[in-house]
């Protein structure tokens, strides 16, 4: 019997998800033994045409990381969906938009103007912006078109499973691969794999007390006690609004959870959940005092939706 075929692709991402796959260490050899890797641009030499020539649904599993930022990302998402039996949104960017999704707080025009014209380190001779078509002697060059805003993978194609994390933890990746290799029936489509069904707080070893917060601090402003809940100490920790599964890695290193595993089950919006959680622990009973405490929170939208802005209810900022 032929080995099952595996494809890995990166769209708008940093490459960390690919490193996470390699971080399963010597088990990568088991993966190479068990699967026939048919497409993995970051590690092996394949061309898009090789994929186009494959038969539909001939790839057994495709791990797709990265958000949909430009027309190339979308084109390959459609192509891989057509060729794959199981398409997995792998990592925060493919699942929820991830860090690139924070670009949804700016318009495409604002971004291009800053990067190509206004940023202090840019010397622009002709105020030129990148074009999708350019004529040279040899013919016309075409580059992908940057989209107006970032979308998660599920907004352009049907996704079978989601593996959250920035990046997904290697042991969780291995668990998923092992499960698939075991031949057990796959979970229902749309499931989140390689993660828990509680919140990050559930895995956190720190001691929690009754929270009463008078002031919020940014992590560099205080030296947090390593044994007490970070939120108790006034540091915004995304733990209460984040799915478990990472083993509370960040909080064990004395830094607050950043929310990369996405919203917990049955939660539609990570930021709304965080507002709900924080509002319960702010120790104030008058509008003035509440206003003053809320004023100590820097960049609420960027903190609460650091990884999930394009996946949230409102998805992006609009310019009136």
């Amino acid at each position: 019997m032929d080995k099952p075929k595996l494809a890995l692709y990166w769209a708008a991402s940093c490459g960390g998800c690919e490193i996470a796959v390699l971080d399963i260490q010597e088990k990568i050899l088991d993966v190479a033994n068990a699967f026939d890797i048919v497409f993995w641009p970051v590690a092996m030499d394949f061309k898009y045409d090789d994929v186009r020539k494959m038969e539909d649904k001939s790839i057994d599993i495709c791990l797709f990381n990265g958000a949909i930022r430009n027309s190339e990302n979308e084109e390959i998402a459609h192509l891989l969906r057509q060729k794959s039996k199981v398409l997995v949104a792998f990592g925060s960017c493919a699942y929820e938009g991830g860090i690139p999704g924070l670009a949804n707080l700016s318009t495409k025009e604002e971004m291009l103007n800053f990067v190509y014209k206004e940023s202090p380190s840019t010397i622009s001779n002709n105020n030129g912006l990148p074009q999708t078509h350019y004529k040279v002697n040899e013919g016309e060059i075409e580059i992908p078109e940057l989209y107006e805003y970032v979308k998660p993978l599920k907004d352009v194609v049907d996704v079978d499973y989601y593996i959250p994390g920035c990046p997904p933890q290697p042991e969780q990746i291995w668990n998923v691969i092992e499960y698939i290799l075991s031949g057990k029936p796959l979970p229902p489509a749309g499931s989140v794999l390689g993660a828990g069904d509680k919140t990050c707080c559930d895995e956190c070893p720190r001691e929690r007390k009754e929270k009463k917060i008078k002031e919020f601090h940014r992590p560099y402003e205080i030296i947090p006690n390593p044994d007490e809940c970070l939120l108790d100490q006034g540091i915004i920790c995304m733990g209460p609004a984040t799915r478990s599964g990472c083993g509370a890695l960040c909080v064990k290193a004395n830094v607050p959870c950043r929310g990369c595993y996405g919203a917990p089950p049955n939660c539609l919006d990570q930021g709304a959940k965080m507002i709900s959680a924080l509002s319960s622990v702010i120790d104030a009973h008058s509008p003035e005092e509440i206003e003053q405490i809320l004023g100590t929170i820097t960049d609420a939208v960027g903190t609460f939706y650091r990884f999930s802005l394009p996946y949230s209810i409102l998805k992006r900022r609009v310019v009136q």
Binding site: L105, G271, A272, P287, I290, L294, A300, L314, R317, Q320
Partner: protein, 143 residues
């Protein structure tokens, strides 16, 4: 056709809903633009409900609860008192005018106050016009 604001009102069972009821039985006229949803406490109004209301096409959202100190569950309305200004900051970052979200305290005996709040808020939203966020596409008629 002239713009008629669609407003979602979350009213606490113990004070504000009774206040709205009183406005009704007292035959006080108020704008018909508020679609009332009764909740057991204003503290039951999850921030998700409010964002969802905007997403589904509401032009404004008003949350009404018992006056501070009068909460049937003692602390519920204080949570709301913190949530709403917090949410106002958040929707502003998304490009939605914070004035589209309002918090008001209306007791069971304040039928006239209910009517005043509803009328004022409706006029304010009428001036702001329809919600203009691209994620807020679905219109309430379709639900």
């Amino acid at each position: 056709m002239a713009f008629e604001p669609k407003i979602i009102g979350f009213l606490c069972n113990w004070c504000s809903y009774s206040g709205a009821d009183l406005a009704g039985v007292s035959r006080i006229k108020s704008a018909p633009n508020v679609r009332v949803i009764r909740t057991m406490c204003s503290g039951r109004v999850d921030p998700t409900f409010i964002l969802k209301a905007f997403q589904l096409g509401a032009d404004g959202v008003v949350v009404m609860g018992c006056h501070p100190g009068d909460c049937h569950y003692q602390e519920g309305n204080y949570k709301t008192m913190r949530r709403i200004p917090f949410l106002k900051k958040l929707i502003k970052d998304f490009g939605i005018e914070p004035e589209r979200l309002r918090l008001e305290w209306v007791s069971a005996s304040e039928g006239d106050r209910y009517a005043t709040v509803v009328n004022e808020f409706t006029e304010e939203i009428r001036k702001l016009g329809p919600i203009k966020h691209p994620s807020c596409k679905v219109k309430l008629e379709q639900i």
